[in-house]
Symmetry: C2
Subunit: 139 residues, 2 copies
DNA sequence: TACCACATTGCAACATAGTTGCAAAAAATA
DNA sequence: TATTTTTTGCAACTATGTTGCAATGTGGTA
């Protein structure tokens, strides 16, 4: 259980620290995306806010987690399941945010459709976020 | 020039105030989307921060402007060109944020593609935000 | 035009989200 | 274990957004 966490950290040439182990473990145990506040709530007083921000940024930089934009002013993060690496994310799936339970899902099997942009516009990244009612809340 | 601003406010049963006139005029003169800070910079000391927030919220509620989510923690707003009304937005176009000049465009002619969601997921809104290099910066 | 009812604004205070510099502590390395 | 390097915690700061309330402005009526 811990081995996968440590393997991932080592593979990305990150030193093994308590905060990185704990936060990465949290992501691996969670099925939805996590906001900074979710992590702060789940780890209690264990780590400083700043440490959590820096750990998340490190993970994003290394291609371990990716960000999910939102209109509610709280960036969410989720594990990269695709072959992301330092500086190169390839998370080409859509995200779903539930209006009721606020859970944010990576819909790994729903790809972001290709677009034909007007002349002169060059895409480097495409975010597609769907909101509505999730499969647990619609039951 | 002013008439269109006042017409829009009247059509939406909003009282005509300085802040509403000035801010709506700003949107009509601007080709890109505006963040709260852009408006504050453009109006100087004329209005309180809170008034700007409340004016933007009112315009969103009335279907005059729509929001554009982002990962940089600053919601942007743009005029609704489609037939939006109170409580019912139909802004079905994609948005483009330039990594260089930070301009955010409504690409009105590029529709958000329809999606097949997994069972149980029901969409109420879809946001598609593309980032990269815009037509002015790529020249 | 003057009055009144109601809506809007400004202010103060608060809440949440995120950043920076630096010294102390912990990991990696030798 | 000793040394080097990285990471952490703290304090202070910036940006973003909200709420309650008294003062002001707007729209309608006489
Ligand atoms: Zn749900
Ligand atoms: Zn994802
Ligand atoms: Zn738009
Ligand atoms: Zn540009």
């Amino acid at each position: 259980m811990h081995t996968q966490v440590i393997d991932t950290l080592k593979k990305n040439q990150l030193s093994i620290t308590d905060s990185r182990k704990t936060i990465l473990q949290l992501f691996m145990e969670s099925d939805g995306a996590l906001a900074h506040m979710d992590i702060e709530n789940n780890t209690g007083e264990e780590f400083d806010r700043v440490t959590i921000y820096r750990t998340l940024q490190t993970f994003v930089d290394k291609g371990i987690i990716h960000t999910i934009p939102s209109a509610d002013n709280a960036i969410r993060y989720a594990l990269c399941k695709d072959a992301c690496s330092e500086g190169h994310h390839h998370d080409n799936h859509i995200h779903f945010m539930c209006d009721h339970c606020s859970t944010t899902y990576c819909l790994d099997h729903v790809e972001v459709p290709a677009l034909q942009l007007p002349g002169g516009f060059m895409a480097s990244r495409t975010d597609m976020v769907v909101s509505g009612c999730c499969n647990r809340c619609s039951k």
